[in-house]
């Protein structure tokens, strides 16, 4: 094998090796960091794992939002109209958070309560997060949903 070929072979081997390690690491990081999506029904019936970082989508049930009078603690129900999940959160809710509107929360289930670390509200009147649609479709309630106000 001439030196030029040898060098090229070594370079290619090095690249394959490097890329292999990189892809392995990326896949490992992916498996550690994906957030599975669940519906309120799945949580109420216990199909969703406890104490694991997940996402839940649904509508904020009308009249369910209650605030702590002295802090930023807030609790509300996320519903797919079959089952509700009680969500607790501390912090500032997004501008588009409203009762009767779609919402996606990220966090963990603990003792039947969902402790959210992040609340994402739907973006505008024409847009609904796909997860919300999915949850409502799964519960067969999509078409009974109320929109405005």
């Amino acid at each position: 094998m001439n030196p030029k070929r040898k060098q090229r072979l070594l370079i290619i081997l090095g690249m394959v090796f490097g890329l292999g390690i990189a892809v392995g690491l990326v896949m490992y990081a992916l498996s550690q960091n994906i957030n599975l999506f669940f519906t309120p029904t799945q949580i109420a019936t216990g199909t969703a794992p406890n104490d694991q970082f997940i996402r839940v989508g649904g509508m904020v049930r009308e009249g369910s939002v209650s605030r702590d009078p002295t802090s930023l603690k807030v609790a509300f129900d996320v519903t797919d109209f079959d089952h509700n999940v009680r969500v607790t959160y501390t912090g500032i809710l997004p501008d588009l958070f409203r009762e009767g509107q779609g919402v996606v929360v990220q966090g963990r289930v603990h003792d039947g309560l969902f402790a959210a670390t992040e609340v994402l509200a739907k973006h505008d009147e024409n847009y609904m997060p796909p997860e919300v649609t999915e949850a409502l479709r799964q519960s067969g309630q999509l078409d009974k949903m109320m929109g405005k106000n």
Binding site: A22, V26, I34, L96, E131
Partner: protein, 660 residues
Amino acid sequence: MFAEFGHFALVTAFAIAICQGMIPLYGYATQQDTLIATAKPLALLQGFALAVSFAVLTHGFLVHDFSIHYVANNSNLYLPWYFRMSAVWGAHEGSLLLWALILAGWGVAVSLFSRGIPEHMAAIVLSVMGMIGIGFIAFMLFTSNPFERLLPFAPANGKDLNPLLQDPGLIFHPPMLYMGYVGLSVAYAFAMAALIAGRLDATWARWSRPWTTIAWSFLTFGIALGSWWAYYELGWGGWWFWDPVENASLIPWLVATALMHSLAVTEKRGLFRSWTVLLAIAAFSLSLLGTFLVRSGVLTSVHAFANDPERGVFILGFLIVVIGGSLTLYAIRAAAVSEPGRFGWLSRESWLLFNNLMLTVLAVSVLLGTLYPLLVDAVGGGKVSVGPPFFNAVFVPLTAILVSFMVFGPLTSWQHMKDTRQYRPLIVAAIVSILVGALWPTQMLGDYSIASALGTVLALWLVLGTLLDIWQRRLEYGSAWVMARKVGAGFFGMWVAHIGVAVTVFGVAMVENHTEHRDVRMGPGDVQALGPYEVRFIQMESLQGPNYSSEMGTFEVWEGSRLYQAVTPEKRVYSASQMTMTEAAIDPGFTRDLYIALGEPLGDGDWAVRLSIKPFVDWIWGGSFLMGFGGIIAILDRRYRRARARQQQPVTPAEQATVV
């Protein structure tokens, strides 16, 4: 009938694009110089037609012509004139028109500044760009016509521009970003021309280099502006969210960065040719993919403003033609390219190869993370999301490795470096960086952080390494003055850009590790401590804007017993869309930003309030600006002008060796 005139101009541009895509290429294939010569005039004509079309749409916005569907959907009688200008590209149809206009603009630039390039090469380049134009204009004409009328009765008022986009940031962010995205089409077209003409050599790399660099600069500015806009307009103080749309701009940027560096090797040493061509194809393809991700609704996100599967099918077809076609051509033609010459293990080539490897891995990881939810959904794995933890876990360590080796490339000679004496002062640089970096976090707010120390070490190491390179050049040339004249703008550009990277790295390390951040409940009269300051909530008042109503809070920031500043964050409700927007109050500073934003009212006059101090946050964008500015300096290199003056003389190997 003014709008019809715009539509007519668009149809004309379409016809011209078809000619531009076909005739010069046919002329090249059949060796007819008269047909080849049509390329430049056609490119100018297409630019003119699209400029007319764009001007007509802008006119429609300025005079409130709500009989145009697009205007009715994105403007309003009460929208200020400057937002009516930027509303032209505020939604799907108009932003496509801007895309096409910028593409044609690049075509005009190529036809004006390509005198040093053989006529037939420029013609093929313009032909390829014409073909891309055909796709985009057809997309507009057949699925998203911005001139569609609402006749016979036009609404009296429009729906208003999405309030998120009613911001000065939006006036510049999309045009800059598109300049970058579309500018990569020039590098792509050069690569295709080289493949078609079978001329993949150092000369090709030299032609294509300034175009790549300038497109990269625009892309850098565009991304930085977008991040800055997100920071103060929708981010609640965050500056990067790993949102699919952000990733869609970051991925081409990473690939274009790799392309710039590998083009250097191809130009100077004639190596990495087929790899460089592949990168040029990949960079533009990924820009198109970015457009696809945003427009088709395949990945929905905060930014996706046109979710329409029919359009998605069109874009996908277009992508298959453009990307599939070019990769097929690549597979057929690149086989004939041989790689002459070798390089030693310790050489600038090796370091640039390492740079390319790291940047490619970064780009692939971001792409994988962005597409993963789509891949899982497509195989029936349900809805998942990939959040920032993944991207941070992958991006941060890889970038740290890349940055720590960045200093070596410029200090190393081409081909083979026998003498490692030039590296020796780096030991001092390393010691200084580690000492200063390790101590730095103790000077900042909050706890000691290893990550912050590491970021500081890296940034300082990169700055010192770059200064060492400048110093060694100075020694080489004898005096700073001689060096400044002899060394060439390319080197200055590189130094500025590399220092920009250091500045951004430092900013990120500080913001991510030393931000003081509190969400609190406050009513008028309440006081909260924030770092060295005291924040007093003075009052709330209601205001009326041109197309919104606002609740404005007044906060006083006290430094001890001295009033430092009063700031007024707002909560706005836009009348037409009834959307609520948060306008944060930001007091920018060289070493920190003071950030105060109103959350929601909590009853009894209390509000949720976000208070934070963000150390060195503006360095993130300052560094990005330096990077982009470095690119602009680099293209001023007299080498490119000389190449033009010298006309079509082939570059001899001896000449290649003398060009540093």
